[in-house]
Symmetry: C2
Subunit: 242 residues, 2 copies
């Protein structure tokens, strides 16, 4: 009895690992958020599919467990990496009472990595990854993390920077960062990474505060050493002999 | 004129993305640290190869630039993701005076993701990635980052936890974390991720302080919500209805 929790990477098949492709091929049932299922529809073929909407995550994991207990090989897919704000943790929680069900997490390219590759090399040194979604996390915790990461001069990658209901969250986050980081700190954001309409923008932290993003945007804030080289955001590792 | 900076993922071809495979196939010249070249030797075939030892990173990037300027398609390979403590940033720096050379970073699965998948799901919520190597970074900066990340209750992923010359670094880092995190904070470390001899160990932060690691070890420290489920380190995202 086995459940694969598969990270698809940013979007297209080109950005999937071979291990992820093979896991989906070997599964009897494929499950995931509707949108991700559509991304890999041509790989699924005639397999059984159980998809559902956002906010139905726990329900989907329970259904995956049911399928596994009935003897079917299940592949649960997420975009990016299944372990980074993905379904892997929740699947372990849901299967806690069933140690006989083997969970295999198949890692993928998370948006911190795929987005960084689009905008340059912003995460070449120590970095923090922070989600601005307060659906499951108190805002005070998010605020403390943003301030701590800024004070310690981490490069910062922000997931879920805003949505329709949270249109001012990135602005508020930039306010916290500006208490510790210079307003001319180089930043970048990438939209629709690895998908149609992929685009990136370079700006300063001062400018970022007024940018409107959406749930398909990943945001990068440099550290004190970051700079723009030929239109890309680059954080040096510190090599001297260049 | 183009240079691909390619992340190979943890090791074997199964963990590479199709895009990375295709970039190496389309290159005229493949360059990288000796050890990584050996990992993909069967994919290189009869192509020209320029490999060199550790600490020759800038030299390798300059050579890659020379090849590109001579009209050859170059693939520079790193393990993991090329943008996370990888060669992407350095390549942008080396090519700063040559905007006509197009750099395409091809992201891969970094050790934070591949290691997390081995030990469970430790990075399912906000996390910080910190290297303990002080070759290019003052130790005081590393110390400040570890303390800030611990105080703000990030899960932490540590790269380069120690080496022969730096055998007590992980012990010192644990000392800083223990100022803010409980000694029974669940932790894990993975060795030889995606390669022969892959193994992981679960322990507490108190125990981690006395663990001897090497340059092929990636270490994970949970946040205050992390726990052990069926022998894996899991950080919940906070779903209530499980």
């Amino acid at each position: 009895m086995k459940i694969y929790v598969v990270g698809l990477g940013p979007g297209g098949k080109e950005d999937m690992t071979l291990r992820a492709v093979h896991a989906i091929e070997s599964a009897d049932v494929v499950t995931g958020y509707d949108y991700y299922i559509e991304l890999i529809r041509d790989m699924i073929g005639g397999k059984e599919v159980f998809s559902s909407a956002m906010k139905k995550e726990a329900e989907r994991c329970k259904k995956a467990l049911e399928y596994a207990l009935s003897g079917k090989m299940v592949a649960m897919v997420s975009s990016g990496d299944a372990g980074i704000y993905g379904m892997a943790g929740l699947m372990y929680e849901v299967c806690a009472a069933h140690p006989e069900v083997k969970i295999e997490v198949i890692p993928g390219v998370t948006a911190a990595c795929s987005g960084a590759a689009v905008v340059g090399a912003p995460l070449s040194h120590d970095f923090a990854v922070i989600s601005l979604s307060d659906l499951l996390t108190p805002w005070e915790v998010i605020e403390k993390r943003i301030k701590a990461a800024s004070d310690a001069d981490f490069s910062i990658c922000i997931y879920n920077p805003s949505s329709k209901k949270r249109s001012d969250y990135l602005n508020r986050a930039c306010g916290y960062m500006l208490e510790y980081k210079s307003s001319d700190t180089p930043c970048a954001y990438a939209e629709n990474i690895g998908r149609e309409g992929e685009v990136y923008t370079i700006c300063t932290l001062g400018e970022l505060a007024d940018v409107q993003t959406n749930m398909f945007t990943t945001v990068f804030i440099g550290n004190s050493q970051s700079r723009i080289i030929n239109g890309r955001l680059v954080t040096p590792r510190g090599y001297k002999n260049i």
